[in-house]
Amino acid sequence: MTRYVRASELVKKPVVTFDGEDVAQVKDILFEAADGSVRGFTLAGRGLFSGPLKQTLAAGRVHGLGPDAVVIRDGTALSGDDQPAVGVPGGGDVMGATALTVKGTELGKVVDVIIEGSRQPVVAGYEVESSGPPRRRVLLPVLRPVGVSGDMVVVPDAVVDFAAGDLAGFAEAARGLRHRLEEE
């Protein structure tokens, strides 16, 4: 079972209750820049003609998160009138942002975000397309970005040594980076 999910795979995925109903679909993934923790999701309706919903889904209310669905216990997991909505963070959409190392090397454009799907989902890395030529995509494990905005994601230089080609290799790369950081 893959623990890692691409954000692009998660967007538009149905939010399914234990009862088997698709009550919404994922719109935005909101995360905390400082520690990468996913705070929650904004939602859109499932119908062809439906738009964004006012309700949001806090990460703590998610039962399971995988490549095919976000599973919640029941409809009360969504923010209603009785529950505060997930706050909209101040930053922008990191998709398309420039990835830059602390020492000033431009790695390319962020084309996807890797999310570790567990009880508390976390942004575990970024998929970056180098501006090339040749253009190539690598997955960078980023435990703690130095800074994140809608324009730029600043990462430690060490992550470059742990670039992976695919999600299978990414798990290994993330472990390697964690190991290196523990040694330091």
Binding site: A7, V11, K12, Q25, V26, K27, D28, I29, L30, F31, E32, A33, A34, D35, R39, T42, A44, G45, L48, F49, S50, G51, P52, G87, V88, P89, G90, G91, G92, D93, V94, M95, V113, V123, G147, V148, S149, G150
Partner: protein, 50 residues
């Protein structure tokens, strides 16, 4: 214009309206990955909130 000419015009206008509604709603449903400023009240300042 013949009566069916108006009918074609009406059908085309409706089709365009429906298509544009579908496109706008699909665009509104599209999402992204939004980074938070990383600071909440009382947590101190770390970088600027945009």
């Amino acid at each position: 214009m013949e009566w069916w000419g108006w009918l074609i015009v009406a059908v085309v206008v409706l089709a365009v309206l429906i298509a544009s509604a579908l496109v706008t709603q699909a665009r509104r449903r599209r999402g992204g990955v939004i980074a938070g400023g990383g600071q909440r009240p009382g947590e101190g300042e770390r970088g600027g909130r945009r």
